[in-house]
């Protein structure tokens, strides 16, 4: 039996002195797993914040079901949250967890196959009842049948310990049950020397209107911490030293929040109000939520009646002179594409964020994929060129939101930002930028009404952005082919030909501003990996590992998918073999093969999960070994 934990109320918020041994480790990957009603995402989020405060580099990956509450205790109802943290810089949420915290049998069954052999399993033994085992489809109790013999198992009766800690508080059964994730969190805080203060403060502010729940959650957290410290089952705890991170002020940030912050910052830099028209869709809705809470910055958010109205409102706001953005996921882009074509024809600046998810159709709403590149490039009728950017990291969801806004306004064009479910939901430490050092995005409106022509272009081939309210600049634009310079309706064959080429050239001109492509990895590399989007972490980590083993491999990562960087062809030609990993069936590789006529090797993955480092490594090794 575990010892009675110290009364949590006597605990100070500072770390208690422990007599147990401390083992130093470089990196740890923990996966929290439980029922979708168990508060797993919340627990993971708190652990993440405290890990950032502890000075580690980190990367997270939430994995939750599409159903809000799948039947309790079942396999589809399992929600997971993985965090990888380290004393050196890391790039991915970790290939395989070292530690699995399983709140019920279903969570254990779903996640055990991913755990490293010899890994640590912490289970809530109270949840391993015959009905729960049956719901998870387990014929025998894995805690008793030897199926966990390859792992280190720590059995914790989480539910009854939480119940014991909260005795006498007059809470309902459900309320007590909802506190057990905090007990587990406290236990994990002790095990990995995380500070409890931030979570205590978070509980204070989150539950201030329900004092009983506030007290119960604090008590559960501290009781879990004290239990781990005093119980005989933990003989040591782990220390992950601070990572050598560039100096500055940091926060944790996921891709969707980063995008929202990026657009608000872009509007500030452009000295224009921000308009965001959107329709709720997983996994993009958080951008709408975040921006809706930024009204104090003059942000106008419009929850439209559908995806088409969302992009339509964005085009209207752009005509009115706002920095106008719409966000969605793949199925939403299908609906928006006709209107995006209108913005191509009217040459109005809008930004479309596509937080890609598994497709086709409804597909896998909560899982990640990169299969909308060709849709962004070619999903509209006619020759309909536009710019496409793809952030590689959560932090780039911020910086590329600004870059997309800049390109849209400078070149008077729609710009796609291809994020994905992984970037949207995973979080990383982010160095908070100094706004005063960011360049202005201001574009000057035309000043002379006498010489004004709606489709008269500047050196970049951009047309002027004259907005209603500017006397003498009244003009009409529309979806019918425009006459060069005047913008009037024109059905003239030569004019159509000229305008198609001008629109194409205008987008191609953006390449002049793309900085030289950075090659990462061995100087003498024979194999080059070309990545785009959220595969950056796995690719870069794989190259680092391979270089450490002396393998001649390097990588480049494309942020600009249209136009492509002008030095790309030369770089591709420098290597014997080129591998293009993508979370689709080879969309970028198709574009690159046709553009550069090179026999590129495609590596694809369409499991709704990001690439693992070892998957990239294995492919490179196979190519180096001459197997393909």
């Amino acid at each position: 039996m575990p010892k009675e934990p110290k009364s949590p109320m006597e605990e100070t918020a500072t770390k208690p002195q422990s007599n147990k041994q401390v083992q130093e480790v470089e990196a740890v990957t923990i996966r929290f797993a439980g029922d979708s009603g168990d508060g797993i995402q919340l627990t993971g989020g708190q652990f993440t914040n405290s890990t950032g405060l502890a000075g580690n580099d980190l990367s997270t990956l939430p994995d939750y079901p599409a159903e809000i509450r799948a039947p309790a205790g079942t396999l589809p109802g399992v929600s997971g949250f993985q965090i990888h943290f380290s004393s050196r810089d890391i790039l991915t949420p970790g290939d395989a967890p070292d530690v699995l915290v399983a709140m019920n049998p279903a969570a254990l069954k779903v996640n055990l196959k991913d755990l490293e052999q010899g890994g640590l399993v912490i289970v809530n033994t109270d949840a391993f009842t015959p009905p729960s085992l049956q719901k998870a489809g387990l014929a025998a109790n894995p805690l008793e049948d030897g199926s966990l013999s390859n792992y280190r198992v720590i059995k914790v009766p989480l539910t009854s310990l939480t119940d014991g800690a909260l005795k006498g508080m007059n809470l309902t059964r459900t309320q007590v049950d909802r506190c057990k994730n905090f007990f587990a969190l406290g236990l994990m805080y002790w095990l990995y020397e995380r500070p409890v203060e931030k979570t205590l403060a978070w509980i204070e502010s989150k539950f201030k209107k329900v004092p009983a729940v506030l007290d119960a959650n604090k008590k559960a957290l501290l009781a879990g911490y004290a239990y781990a410290d005093t119980a005989e089952m933990f003989h040591e705890h782990y220390r992950v030293k601070r990572a050598p991170i560039a100096p500055g002020r940091y926060r944790n940030l996921n891709g969707n929040t980063a995008a929202a912050l990026g657009f608000v910052t872009a509007a500030h830099l452009a000295q224009r109000p921000l308009f965001y028209g959107s329709y709720p869709i997983t996994p993009a809705s958080e951008i709408l939520h975040e921006l809706s809470d930024m009204k104090a910055f003059g942000v106008r958010t419009f929850q439209a009646e559908d995806e088409i109205a969302a992009v339509g409102s964005t085009i209207g706001a752009s005509f009115g002179g706002h920095l106008a953005v719409t966000g969605t996921s793949g199925p939403g882009v299908c609906l928006k594409n006709e209107a995006i074509g209108l913005a191509v024809m009217m040459e109005l600046p809008i930004v479309i964020v596509n937080v890609q998810r598994g497709g086709p159709s409804t597909g896998l709403p909560t899982k990640t994929e990169q299969a909308d590149l060709l849709q962004a490039l070619f999903g509209r009728n006619g020759e309909s060129p536009l710019a496409i950017l793809a952030p590689a990291t959560t932090g780039e969801c911020f910086s590329l939101a600004i870059e997309a806004s800049r390109i849209a306004m400078k070149y008077m064009t729609p710009v796609f930002v291809l994020s994905d479910g992984y970037l949207a939901n995973s979080s990383e430490p982010w160095r908070i930028p100094d706004i005063s050092k960011l360049p202005s995005l201001r574009v000057e409106p035309p000043s002379d009404p006498k010489s004004f022509k709606p489709y008269q272009r500047n050196a970049d081939l951009s047309r002027p952005w004259a907005v209603p309210g500017m006397a003498g600049f009244e003009h009409r634009i529309g979806g019918i082919e425009k006459a060069d310079i005047t913008g009037n309706v024109s059905y003239d064959p030569d004019n159509h030909d000229r305008m198609i080429h001008i629109r194409e050239q205008k987008i191609a001109n953006i390449a002049k501003e793309i900085p030289p492509t950075q090659v990462f990895g061995a100087k003498n590399a024979e194999v080059l990996i070309v990545g785009w989007g959220s595969t950056y972490g796995a690719i870069t980590a794989a190259v680092r590992d391979l270089n450490a083993a002396g393998k001649p491999v390097a990588s480049i990562h494309l942020r600009h998918l249209n136009p492509l960087p002008s030095d790309l062809g030369d770089i591709l030609n420098r290597y014997k073999r080129v591998i293009v990993p993508e979370m689709n069936l080879g969309q970028l590789v198709m574009v690159l093969r046709s553009r550069y006529l090179l026999p590129l090797i495609s590596l694809t993955k369409v499991k709704g999960q990001p690439f693992k480092i070892h998957e990239i490594r294995a492919k490179v090794q196979s190519v180096l070994d001459g197997k393909e």
């Binding site: 009204k295 910055f297 085009i315 209603p468």
Partner: protein, 339 residues
């Protein structure tokens, strides 16, 4: 935002005529509507650069090209979405949508509903000719049941929609109907709509001379129109007929037509009330065919806060509650320093 310059000279119709050749079929009802809009808007005291005309696709949707204002000729069915975004971004503008029965009620039906129920301050002119003209003569959602057309050689089998009724059911705050040939009436209704704060909807019965000529002849033709059209006037009894000898009164829960000696209307005729329950306006909208007249005029006009105004208010409220500090926003609730 660029400086907004007031146009000091008084505006006339000419100021709103663009340099584009008007490309509608000779005799099209759209010409009359264009002329009346160009007549009415100079009288509103609003600078020309503050007007924006937004249209979708269809014959009516060419309208913005002929107005010397800011304008957008957009895509099929979506004009209202673009107008909504524009008005929300720029509440200082007066935004008009020009649409047709196919554009607004078929492909754009969803946006029509939501624009009106939000009460966004946009003016919607729906030219209803009960046919697809631009695509050369298919039945539209307002075509009468059994309508023979290129796409329905044996007659349509879908029940038509009544635009006024759709607008009322969407809880529009201003709902009216007018007729292309009645320029006086059109002018007064257009002026009312322009002055209304909130979504203003006008169905204009419009003749397509090529593909559906005579669709509205009972209410358009000089010989028959007075017997078939009922002009709604706020506070006045519902009287119609060439001799002003017919009226509407209630019989139980339904209206009925009553004939009387001219100049001596019975005391129990219904008196029109634009602010009455929408159920009343809905009842009026159900009068379409003889013996009932076809009502024109303002069915309903009530004042409610607009969507764009509420959006503005929330932004003001948020600004007062929390001074915008971008650096603090980027930092978020929890940060740590790395030395």
């Amino acid at each position: 935002m660029p400086e907004i310059t007031a146009n000091p000279a008084p505006l006339t119709r000419k100021d709103f005529v663009s340099d584009q050749w008007v490309r509608w079929c000779p005799g099209c009802g759209d010409f009359a509507i264009l002329a009346q809009v160009q007549n009415v808007i100079p009288t509103l005291g609003i600078p020309r650069e503050k007007f924006v005309f937004v249209s979708g696709i269809g014959c009516s949707s060419r309208f913005p090209y002929y107005m010397n204002t800011f304008g957008m000729h957009t895509i099929h069915g979506r004009a209202m979405t673009i107008a909504t975004g524009l008005k929300c971004a720029r509440p200082d503008l007066q935004v008009w949508v020009v649409t047709g029965d196919g554009d607004a009620l078929s492909i754009g039906g969803n946006h029509f509903l939501h624009t009106l129920r939000r009460n966004t301050d946009v003016k919607v002119l729906l030219f209803n000719n009960r046919i697809y003209g631009l695509t050369k003569g298919q039945a539209s959602p307002t075509s009468e049941l059994g309508k023979k057309s290129k796409s329905s050689p044996m007659g349509t089998i879908d029940r038509p929609i009544n635009p006024v009724r759709f607008a009322l059911a969407s809880e529009a705050t201003f709902v009216a109907r007018s007729i292309d040939t009645d320029v006086e009436h059109q002018r007064s209704i257009l002026a009312r709509a322009a002055q209304h704060k909130g979504s203003a909807f006008i169905e204009i019965l419009q003749n397509c001379i090529v593909f559906n000529d005579g669709a509205w002849s009972p209410v358009e033709d000089r010989a028959t129109r007075d017997d078939n059209a009922l002009k709604l006037e706020h506070g006045k009894p519902l009287i119609f007929g060439k001799n002003r000898d017919k009226g509407i009164r209630m019989k139980g829960l339904s209206p009925e037509v009553v004939t009387f000696e001219p100049g001596k209307p019975p005391a129990d005729l219904i008196v029109h009330d634009e602010q009455a329950s929408p159920a009343f306006a809905y009842m009026l909208s159900e009068m379409e065919k003889p013996p009932f007249p076809h009502p024109v005029g303002v069915f309903r006009c009530v004042v409610e806060p607009t969507y764009d105004q509420r959006m503005d208010e929330q932004i003001e409220q948020a600004r007062k509650a929390r001074a915008p500090d971008l650096a603090a926003l980027l930092a978020g609730p929890e940060t740590w320093e790395v030395q």
